[in-house]
């Protein structure tokens, strides 16, 4: 599962556009990640500010 550092996240939603399983959603200023996350960590690689952290 992906952890979001809310101090770093600038809620740009860029990670949502790269999630291959549509597990992410941007709601106003909050990134939500549902159970379909496959821990591919593409969003972690993409994030412009390093706000996302993978579990692996």
């Amino acid at each position: 599962m992906i952890a979001v550092d809310r101090n770093k996240c600038i809620y740009c939603g860029g990670c949502v556009g790269i999630c291959p399983v549509n597990a992410m959603t941007l709601e106003e200023t909050i990134i939500t990640i549902n159970d379909s996350c496959i821990d591919c960590n593409l969003c972690v690689k993409f994030c412009p500010v390093g706000a996302l952290e993978g579990s692996k």
Binding site: C12, G14, N22, L42, F46, P48
Partner: protein, 390 residues
């Protein structure tokens, strides 16, 4: 049942709304943000030529800077200036510009719901039932046509079964500061290249009325650190621009610099970033987004009047798009593949042999002259032949 539900009130969504409402169709726009236009995810540049071509008028309040050209900086700092009618443009104030577009759509008869997020949709009796959630709770909207103008995050495309997911190899990781106190020639946009500046992308300074949009986009595969770190480094290393500058806003975003996705499904059309309609070389997408909506509306009008909204009918929009932009986009994707192979020293060589107008020609996907220019640079020429020839 309404005729047209548009998800997303960016430039693509609001131009679509105006086009549809002014044709007399019952049109509703849902925008998940509580404010249209903010936060921006964009360098805010657009050329006058692009605007004129698609016939969009901008309210003067939406224009924050007037530009007569671009200055390109090779890694060593060597400058190439691009000027001329084709280069003239605006730096927009997106927060105002997008409200202006929404106001024009509302004047034409469109309805808007802000702070209202589309959360799912299903097909029912040849129409779409779209669930939305807003301040007054959840509701269902029945519509004959759904337009996905929901940007890089597009859910509409995914719900309709289209493969709109971006690939990390073709998706810029972008970050930007709006800065006050920047000391840069305000008649130009400034673009900076180099592996250590913005790997496989570029850094920019776009001057505005009392600030500048300063940012960069990179591709992850060549990056040694995060986009944010590259931007801090860029600002630190350029005292000549940023000595007294301070950020007054921070934004980020993903930029789809390749077009793969289909643009229509039964009762569904995608416009703008949702359909990955961005220039693969410079990453500009406002003009393309608005143009896609103009094209989509022409096809949607015919389809709605006929009462036939199947993929087979709506595909005419995709064909129109491809006719106008397909070949150019494919060529520019090749040019991007070529540029991705270049080392910093190659950029210096290009800065030596290319004039501003040559670079403009390249961005217009003209390649033959470029190969001729490289004739005295055998290593670059062979690379160019490999990537740019069919």
């Amino acid at each position: 049942m309404i005729d047209c539900l548009i998800v997303g009130a960016g430039p693509a969504g609001s131009v679509m709304a105006k086009e549809m409402a002014s044709r007399g169709f019952e049109t509703l726009v849902v925008e998940k943000r509580q404010e249209i236009g903010a936060p921006k995810r964009c360098a805010e540049g657009i050329t006058l030529r692009g605007l004129k071509y698609i016939g969009i008028d901008i309210h003067p309040l939406g224009i924050s800077g007037r530009i007569k050209g671009a200055m390109l900086y090779a890694p060593s700092g060597k400058k190439v200036v691009m000027e001329g009618d084709e280069m003239e443009g605006y730096v927009l104030e997106r927060k105002v510009f997008e409200k202006d577009l929404a106001a024009k759509a509302i004047k034409a008869g469109a309805r808007y719901m802000v702070k209202t997020q589309a959360i799912g949709m299903e097909r029912e009796n040849g129409a779409w039932k779209v669930r939305v959630r807003g301040m007054d709770g959840e509701m269902e909207i029945k519509t004959r046509l759904v337009v996905g103008a929901d940007g890089v995050e597009s859910k509409v495309g995914k719900w309709a079964g289209l493969k709109t997911v971006n690939r990390i190899t073709d998706y810029h990781s972008g970050i930007q500061f709006e800065m006050a106190g920047v000391n840069a020639d305000e008649k130009y946009i400034h673009l900076f290249f180099g592996r250590d500046v913005a790997p496989l992308g570029y850094a920019w300074i776009f001057p505005k009325a009392f600030s500048a949009n300063v940012g960069l986009g990179i591709l992850e595969k060549a990056a040694k650190m995060k986009a944010y770190d590259y931007l801090k480094k860029f600002i630190e290393e350029h005292e000549e621009f940023f000595k007294n500058a301070q950020p007054i806003e921070i934004n980020g975003g993903g930029v789809p610099v390749a077009h793969f996705t289909r643009m229509v499904a039964d009762g569904v059309m995608l416009v703008g970033d949702a359909a990955q309609l961005v220039n693969p070389i410079h990453g500009g997408g406002i003009a393309r987004a608005m143009h896609s909506s103009v094209m989509a509306a022409e096809v949607a009008e015919k389809a709605l009047k006929k009462g036939e909204l199947s993929e087979d009918i709506l595909i005419e929009y995709e064909r129109k798009w491809d006719e106008e932009y397909g070949e150019k986009t494919r060529k520019l994707m090749k040019l991007r593949a070529f540029l991705e192979k270049l080392e910093d020293k190659d950029f210096e060589t290009l800065a030596d042999i290319l004039e501003g107008e040559d670079i403009y020609s390249l961005t217009q996907a003209k390649m033959t002259f470029f190969l001729k220019k490289l004739i005295t640079k055998p290593s670059l020429l062979s690379l160019a032949k490999k990537y740019l020839m069919d």
